[in-house]
């Protein structure tokens, strides 16, 4: 599934834009960064409520397609700057984690853990 479609489904606001042709192959959803490191796979979409700098570092290490911060949580500017520097697209949705996962599951995406 294309990232643009996923973002539209979740009504996301863009904080750091993605390229036109980014694929999302699965979803990894957690506030535990070690869980994401353990179970994520490349081109997964990362959903989290954790907006600190480690969320972006984890996204870089785990090679995710993008981060969506849930519950309208917004990162500080230094976190966004690091995401831009590392080419990680960032979005924010007002949906909670449960609803976000439900919508993505309905759309045919599967979780990685």
């Amino acid at each position: 599934m294309k990232l643009a479609g996923v973002i539209a489904l979740m009504g996301c606001e863009t904080l750091s834009a993605a390229g036109d042709d980014v694929d999302v192959e699965a979803v990894v959803a957690s506030d535990g960064m070690s869980e994401i490191l353990a179970f994520s796979r490349p081109h997964a979409l990362m959903l989290t409520g954790l907006t600190n700098i480690q969320s972006v570092r984890t996204a870089v290490v785990a090679d995710v397609s993008a981060i969506v911060y849930v519950r309208d949580k917004r990162p500080e500017q230094k976190v966004l700057d690091l995401a831009v520097q590392n080419g990680i697209p960032i979005f924010v949705t007002s949906l909670g984690m449960f609803d976000s996962c439900g919508i993505l599951y309905e759309a045919g995406l599967e979780g990685v853990m």
């Binding site: 535990g32 070690s34 989290t48 700098i53 480690q54 090679d63 590392n86």
Partner: protein
Amino acid sequence: MSEELLSRSFTLHSHDFDRAGEISTEIKAMLKELGIDSQVIRRVVVVCFEAEMNVVMYADEGTLTFVLTDEDVGIEIADRGPGIGDLDRALEEGWSTATDEMREMGFGFGMGLPNIRRNSDSFDLRSEVGVGTTVTSRIRLDGLD
């Protein structure tokens, strides 16, 4: 006998949460530029990142030494700190001595050392209480687990 291609050493500082992960990102870029297989890079970088976080969270200071040979990547993380009393428990998923502050960073859920071991082809953990801990990981370049 394997041939050493590259060797680097980095210093890690206690509670430097903002910079934790910088070394892993640098190593990732270095290996990518050398054309190393992406799955191997991912395993190396997960090991380095978890190790960085462990030192930043628990130790007073540490050193990460990275050695690339024509056969594998060797990573040694040696810290000066409280050490680990029960190594078997420390390797159990979910067991942790993390504080709330560490958990707010998204770490400290008892996954760090198990993640390092899971991503290593060979793994060694040594510790002395009150002195420090050394983790050694080796990841083969042929990508076989």
